[in-house]
């Protein structure tokens, strides 16, 4: 069953630049998909449209049956609660501890304190940071900060986790540790879409790979098919 469907999607910015041309894509529930391509090929625009940071200029984007392009600005939060997003620069609140950063995603839902505590500690345990819950982001390493960001993105059990170059700022060893965390999350049933430039990771993970070029899907490799094409 398709969790994400993109039908004839086109995105042209106000400046006149077209980032995505006539894109058609289907992603099934539980898949782990890499989106790769050269800088400026439209990877970021594609995922921004999924969590409705950008609206498609034409075409249809369905996420869990919901037409994302038709959601009103003030209702976008409802979609965001179903999608977790992780960025290259972690996007953590610098004045909040690791625990508070993760708890924040549940507090906005108005959950009781006890429930928040249980869920946050569980997810911090999953990413291996249970003992660093009280640390502030600037006291954590890059890999640890990214783990906090992942924990925050998955704490309310989203169906989809979107990762925009989550290993971009990390060394190869830490990057692989992050990938292990993401794989564990995927095994629990969360669909993962990951934009990356790191071909080594893509090769090692042996997942579905979508190659973009100039706003178009040029190749869609099935699980394990992608080997050594350069981008």
């Amino acid at each position: 069953m398709d969790l994400i469907r993109m039908l004839n999607v086109k995105k042209t910015y106000k400046t006149g630049t077209t980032a995505i041309y006539d894109l058609n894509l289907s992603i099934e529930k539980g898949e782990f998909v890499f989106i790769i391509g050269a800088t400026g090929c439209g990877k970021s625009t594609l995922i921004k449209m999924l969590y409705r940071e950008e609206k498609p200029s034409s075409g249809k984007i369905l996420v869990g049956g919901l037409d994302v392009g038709k959601i009103k600005n003030r209702k976008v939060y409802k979609l965001r609660r179903k999608i977790g997003v992780v960025f290259q620069n972690y996007q953590l609140l610098p004045n909040s501890t690791a625990y508070e950063n993760v708890a924040f995603a549940l507090e906005v839902l108005g959950l009781p304190k006890d429930e928040i505590h249980t869920k946050v500690m569980k997810v911090l345990d999953l990413v291996g940071l249970k003992n660093k819950a009280k640390q502030y982001p600037n006291h954590l390493s890059g890999g640890e900060q990214q783990r906090v960001a992942i924990a925050r993105a998955i704490v309310n059990g989203p169906k989809i986790l979107i990762c925009d170059e989550p290993t971009g700022n990390l060394d190869p060893k830490t990057s692989m540790e992050i990938m292990e965390v993401l794989e564990a999350i995927n095994e629990l049933g969360t669909t993962i879409l990951m934009v990356t430039h790191d071909i080594e990771i893509v090769k090692k993970m042996k997942k579905r790979v979508i190659l973009l070029d100039s706003g178009r899907v040029v190749k869609d490799y099935k699980k394990g098919e992608y080997k050594r094409e350069s981008i």
Binding site: Y77, L79, G110
Partner: protein, 312 residues
């Protein structure tokens, strides 16, 4: 229950935020403090000027000179006629709708004679032979009006009353006084309003800078699925808190500064003629005003600044 949890979280977060972003909060609080001190000074000055002009206006009196040969019965009739006029200051019973006692004072011509005789030996020798019947001095009614702008009309109405000979109220000078006081009053009110508007912009812009520096925080809030109201509320509370903290020093200055000033000058400024407003309840009402201005402006300043990042 859920709404209460969200609200209490917002209040808690706004407190945390004020202290965690302390340097920016301090900048906002300082800006609010300085501008509210200026507003406080303007309010105190303006209300005292208004008070002084009102006191002077209340002192303006119409003097109705009665006919020289008026009888006591006719004096009473004039009084009854005066009671029917609208624009006469009411001394008591106004709240019940009908005025029990109006500000009308009868001054007997013999009392006037006595005063004149006491003031000068020459007058004493001239006037000592006059009796009530042959005295050239006239009995008078001294009347205080309610609205000084209508004094000329009221004076005309009094003049129409039978046995009223002449009516005097300082024509010309009173009108001039009224127009000068009116200009002063309007000027001070305009100054206070203008200052409050400038203050509002200053505070709103300072808070805006504080919030702009937290653009990332707002973006993260949006990202994790916080609704617009959920994002706005902590910032609105924060603005309210900044406004509240910023009004503390102006309030202290207003309460203690004005009371000290009042005591120092003994309730009068330079001369007994210029009375200052008594500190209680004046300073408390002004303080309340400052607190409300600080909080409301802080709230709206924050709300406006956050809106910019919400893509509403």
């Amino acid at each position: 229950m859920k709404a209460f949890r969200i609200l209490s979280r917002n209040i808690r977060d706004s407190f945390k935020s004020v202290f965690r972003n302390f340097s920016l909060s301090l900048a906002s609080i300082s800006c609010i403090t300085i501008t509210l001190i200026v507003v406080a000074v303007a309010i105190v000055l303006s209300l005292n000027v208004n008070n002084f002009t009102k006191i002077v206006e209340k002192d303006v009196t119409i003097v109705a000179f009665l006919d020289v040969d008026i009888t006591e019965e006719e004096i009473d009739d004039v009084y009854d006629e005066l009671l029917t006029l609208d624009n006469i200051n009411c001394l008591s019973g106004e709240s019940s709708g009908t005025c029990d006692k109006k500000d009308i004072t009868f001054v007997d011509k013999m009392d006037i004679s006595k005063d004149m005789m006491a003031s000068s030996e020459v007058l004493d020798s001239i006037m000592k032979d006059y009796t009530r019947e042959n005295s050239p001095i006239q009995d008078t009614y001294q009347i205080k009006v309610d609205d000084i702008n209508l004094i000329s009309k009221t004076a005309d109405e009094i003049k129409e009353i039978e046995n009223v000979d002449v009516v005097k109220y300082g024509e010309g000078m009173v009108e001039q006084l009224v127009s000068v006081f009116d200009a002063i009053r309007k000027g001070t009110i305009f100054m206070v309003i203008a200052l409050i508007i400038v203050t509002a912009f200053l505070i709103a812009n300072t808070i805006k800078i504080t919030i702009m520096s937290r653009k990332r925080e707002i973006e993260i809030m949006r990202l994790v699925g916080a609704s617009n109201i959920n994002i706005k509320l902590p910032f609105i509370f924060e603005g309210l808190l900044l406004g509240m903290f910023g009004s503390i020093i102006p309030i202290i200055i207003t309460i203690y500064g004005y009371t000290a000033l009042y005591d120092h000058f003994g309730g009068h400024l330079f001369t007994n003629f210029i009375k200052l407003i008594a500190p209680t309840p004046f300073v408390y009402l002004t303080s309340l005003g400052l607190l409300v201005i600080g909080m409301v402006v802080g709230m709206f300043g924050s709300a406006r600044a956050v809106k910019k990042y919400l893509k509403i």
